[in-house]
């Protein structure tokens, strides 16, 4: 067990950015001054937005942006699933595969060649270290692990995120479709 939370009353939230553009996280930041209000109720225990480097053992709400494209994404999604009570897919990449999944029409080897050889003028070479292996097909998060709530949108608006989190914090089940849709 990890150390007890500083403020046990606060809802512990973790976010991660898999294969996506970070736009959903940016949209989260678009909450602007509402972030302050949110900070009274939640504690962000792990996220690209904060400094923590490891995902705590127990998290109340996990939020994943991005599709699962490489082995690292998969491992992270699985870890989130194990440690988060509720898991949210945030944005079209996490929900549908979206733009990252467009590469599924091509052979993986061709994709890698295009990225690391064809379009590179200086020392074209395949990365061998520190780059997680790409998976054959890009899949949405729920194709790998169970997901409890889906927030489509590219990106979902700050309004949507505010509404969904508000409902969750109030103990209700939000209906994201009232505010957002695929491609919104």
């Amino acid at each position: 067990m990890s150390a007890p939370a500083k403020n046990p009353a606060k809802i512990r939230v973790a976010t991660a950015w898999l294969d996506g553009c970070s736009g959903c996280h940016m949209s989260f930041l678009d909450l602007d001054e509402r972030l302050i209000e949110l900070a009274r109720q939640i504690e962000i225990v792990y996220s690209p937005l904060v400094d923590t480097k490891t995902l705590p053992e127990q998290v109340d709400i996990g939020i994943l942006e991005g599709a699962i494209s490489n082995e690292d994404d998969l491992a992270r999604a699985q870890e989130f699933r194990r440690r988060c009570k509720r898991l949210i897919s945030l944005g079209d990449c996490a929900v549908t595969g979206n733009v990252p999944a467009l590469r599924n029409h091509f052979k993986l080897a061709d994709v890698i060649d295009r990225a690391y050889r064809e379009t590179v003028t200086l020392h074209p070479q395949l990365p061998t270290r520190d780059v997680p292996a790409l998976r054959e097909t890009v899949i949405p998060v729920h194709a790998a692990v169970a997901v409890d709530l889906f927030i489509p949108g590219c990106p979902p608006s700050a309004e949507t995120i505010w509404h969904v989190l508000g409902e969750l914090l109030a103990g209700r089940t939000p209906r994201p479709s009232d505010l957002t849709r695929f491609g919104a």
Binding site: D92, V99, A101, H105, S177, T180, F182, G183
Partner: protein, 243 residues
């Protein structure tokens, strides 16, 4: 060869939709009556002014006393019918049908020129479809941009055949048809040649306007810029009728 059978005398019938009383001519279909009265029955293949196709199955409704669902576009109203258009069972089926469509081809809304003006996308939102449970097929389809004014993106086609019907029935060119079978079906122009090379296409653009998704669009449009305008269809239908 044969001449169509002559129409029979019509009469007016009364019936219920979602618990409220309505009356209509008995040769009207359920979907026609429902839309006249502002009851939104969803559909993707049905379009007023075109022949009935009955294929998207989104307009299925329940009839009291019958376990079998009927297509509102293909079923005429009848005396005493009790029609239910939005039961939980229908909502569930509609959601699943939409899921199947999204999984079938590559409807990537975020990068679609029809984003925000797409009937498929709007229905998904209306039915609370926030994710697709079945695996996406990820089959690559071609984009044919050979026509100087229009473009067909088969990735976004749902095979509703509105383009085929409007081209045949309203424009009279029959440039479009469907080739293949099952999930290999694809809309084609002429002998499955590039649209731009078509001998029969009149470039009237009716197919583009009736297409419910971003499959048929104008050249030069970017994400979210393609809006469709259907007003010509009832207009032409009335003109034809008056003649």
């Amino acid at each position: 060869m044969p001449i169509p059978a002559p129409p029979t005398n019509v009469r007016v019938v009364t019936f219920q939709i979602d618990g409220r009383d309505y009356s209509a001519r008995e040769d009207e279909t359920i979907i026609e009556v429902a839309r006249e009265n502002g009851i939104p029955i969803p559909s993707l293949c049905y379009l007023e002014g075109l022949s009935t196709w009955g294929a998207c199955r989104l307009c299925l409704v329940e009839l009291a006393g019958s376990p079998r669902l009927v297509a509102a576009c293909a079923t005429q109203v009848a005396e005493g019918l009790q029609i239910y258009t939005d039961t939980p069972r229908l909502q569930r089926y509609r959601r699943t049908i939409l899921e199947l469509l999204f999984a079938e081809r590559n409807h990537v809304c975020s990068v679609c020129v029809s984003n925000g003006h797409c009937e498929l996308q709007a229905l998904a939102q209306r039915y609370g479809l926030d994710h697709v449970r079945v695996p996406y097929r990820h089959v690559a389809y071609e984009v044919d941009a050979s026509h100087e004014m229009f473009r067909v993106d088969h990735n976004r086609c749902i095979l509703c055949t509105r383009c085929v019907r409007v081209c045949d029935e309203v424009e009279g060119a029959h440039t479009w048809d469907v080739m293949g079978r099952g999930s290999d079906c694809r809309v084609i122009t002429d002998m499955n040649r590039p649209w731009g090379a078509s001998d029969t296409c009149t470039s009237c653009g009716k197919c583009v306007q009736v297409c419910p998704t971003g499959a048929l669009v104008k050249q030069g449009t970017s994400v979210g810029e393609m809006t469709k305008d259907l007003h010509f269809l009832p207009y032409i239908t009335r003109r034809r009728h008056n003649r």
